[in-house]
């Protein structure tokens, strides 16, 4: 099965602590291939890093193995996390285990496919604009994008630092929450992590797994019209049925409006591409990564190394990011994108004055067929309409299976206020109980 769907780039084990106990003792975990594993190659799905072997492990990997989980392999992904289908990998596309003619979503497609195919109990992905939630939705599993600052990014090879978080993928809400319990927490190696004892309103002793109790009585669910407009009808029907079911279990729903999200995709891509153009400048073939055979000087050698090492989507984003930051365009694109980001953040903050969680389809579409969107980057970007606002606002969100349409999985996204992971876990666990 594993070979058929191409979920893994590298299948190598890192044994967990045999003496550990707790919910992850003896669990198997698949780790996205942009998360560093000491001694096990970490490719980011790129030719550039095809032979790169990290000298240290990411904090999240150490925390999982300390908790008794055994890493079973490194999962396939869109190159450097840049994609919504896991087709931009230099190691070939991953297939959706539910329907192998379709994509698993991305960019953490290998992680979601590994869990859906039973190749691992849990998996880690990274979510910059939806890269955990999208593949979770397309493969019919659960994915959590934590609040920015809840989980350490130390050892995550950066794409867009201000947006991304590592998050768990699992077959059930409780399992995903248990993995989050293990990986969450401040880390001296990542200055953007928060100590929950110092965050107002957060519970430093929270158990996310314990919050999966299915109790939604009295919970208020906001339903934003903007995140349903334009979505595939079959997706909308499936998601609305799941929300109706939460109402039947005692939750209240209320229509809300988030006008700013109409600009989220543009703002997300400008900011992510700008950050990518800076982050990926490090790949020059000198300290690590593959270097082109070149007779040229310093600049020519770098340019040839990067021509050979990067695929088309990575080049596109580096170039557009460079363009958006260049003199004359910085104010037009980057500054306006930052305004949009602040606007999205305010919109959500105001909405959470009145509601506990915000529900929408995770993806406005059903899983694409393989190859369907590859030649049309803009079409692929537009599929991120419902997930990117969450990253812009630094909020937590979960994708939980809402049901099927035409035999394909549909994900329900539940967004919470900052550090409100317990609330979205609770609400998502009620969706499972239908």
């Amino acid at each position: 099965m594993a070979a058929d769907i191409n979920a893994f780039v590298t299948e190598e084990r890192i044994e967990g602590d045999a003496d550990a106990d707790g919910p992850l003792a003896d669990a198997t975990v698949a780790v996205k291939d942009n998360i560093s594993t000491e001694g096990v190659r970490t490719t980011c799905g790129s030719e550039m890093l095809a032979d790169y072997v990290p000298p240290y492990s990411a904090t999240v990997v150490d925390r999982l193995t300390d908790a008794g989980a055994t890493v079973v392999g490194k999962t396939n992904m869109d190159e450097f996390g840049m994609g919504t289908t896991t087709e931009t990998s230099a190691f070939g596309p991953t297939r959706n285990p539910v329907d192998t003619d379709r994509v698993p979503g991305g960019s953490s497609g290998g992680s979601a496919a590994a869990v859906a195919a039973g190749e691992a109990d849990v998996a880690l992905g990274s979510d910059t604009g939806g890269s955990v939630r999208c593949p979770a939705a397309f493969c019919g599993v659960v994915g959590i994008k934590p609040t920015y600052g809840l989980v350490s990014r130390y050892g995550l090879i950066a794409y867009a630092n201000s947006l991304e978080q590592i998050g768990p993928i699992a077959g059930t809400v409780e399992e995903a929450a248990a993995a989050l319990d293990v990986i969450a927490g401040d880390d001296p190696h990542d200055g953007t992590t928060r100590d929950l004892r110092e965050v107002e309103g957060a519970d430093p002793d929270a158990s996310y797994a314990a919050a999966a109790d299915g109790d939604v009585a009295g919970l208020t669910i906001g339903v934003p019209t903007e995140l349903f407009e334009g979505a595939d009808e079959r997706v909308v029907e499936t998601v609305e049925a799941a929300i109706d079911d939460l109402e039947a279990q005692g939750a209240e729903t209320t229509q809300i409006s988030l006008p700013s999200v109409e600009h989220a995709v543009q703002a997300y891509y400008v900011i992510a591409m700008a950050e990518a153009s800076s982050n990926l400048a490090r790949f020059d073939g000198v300290r690590y990564g593959n270097r082109a055979e070149s007779d040229g000087n310093w600049n020519e050698s770098f340019a040839e190394t990067r021509e050979e090492g990067f695929g088309a989507e990575v080049k596109r984003r580096i170039l557009l990011g460079t363009y958006a930051l260049s003199a004359g365009y910085h104010d037009k694109y980057y500054e306006k994108a930052q305004d949009a980001r602040a606007w999205v953040r305010q919109d959500f903050e105001e909405a959470f004055d009145d509601v506990d969680v915000i529900a929408s389809p995770t993806m406005p579409v059903l899983p694409f067929e393989l190859g369907e969107s590859l030649d049309d980057p803009l079409r692929m970007y537009l599929a991120d309409a419902n997930t990117t606002p969450v990253n812009l606002a630094n909020l937590p969100a979960i994708s939980v299976p809402a049901g099927e349409a035409d035999g394909l999985p549909v994900g329900l996204q539940l967004v919470g206020p900052k550090f409100g992971e317990e609330t979205i876990v609770r609400a998502a666990s009620a969706v499972e109980e239908r």
Binding site: P55, Q266, D284, V286, N297, E307, R316, L319, A340, P377
Partner: protein
């Protein structure tokens, strides 16, 4: 949008958006940005990107409608005491380099 469009035609056959939509990007601009980003592109890639960038940048134009928004971020510096800690050994730091010499990275020639 461009002040460097004069020389587009020098790039040979260019079915890029150089002569239609307002947000179009020409091949020369793509080459310029690729040069800034130190990414060499094949000619057919330049043409393909020019067409795609036109579409994508036109879509980004919608950001013009975004109101100026107060960015009330309370960002603080995160500092730690400046104490010596264990880091990578020299051997570990060099382990992934294509070429090393006497404990140093070897880069391409400067000129």
């Amino acid at each position: 949008m461009s002040d460097t469009s004069e020389s587009t035609d020098d790039a040979g056959e260019s079915p890029d958006g150089g002569d239609d939509a307002a947000a179009a990007v020409d091949a020369e601009e793509v080459r310029h940005v690729a040069d800034l980003a130190r990414v060499r592109l094949a000619d057919d890639e330049v043409d393909e990107f020019a067409a795609q960038f036109g579409d994508i940048l036109e879509y980004f134009e919608a950001l013009d409608e975004v109101p100026e928004t107060e960015r009330e971020e309370d960002l603080v510096n995160v500092m730690r005491p400046d104490e010596v800690r264990d880091g990578l050994s020299q051997e570990e730091a060099l382990a992934n380099a294509e070429e090393t010499e006497d404990g140093f990275f070897v880069g391409p020639k400067v000129s």
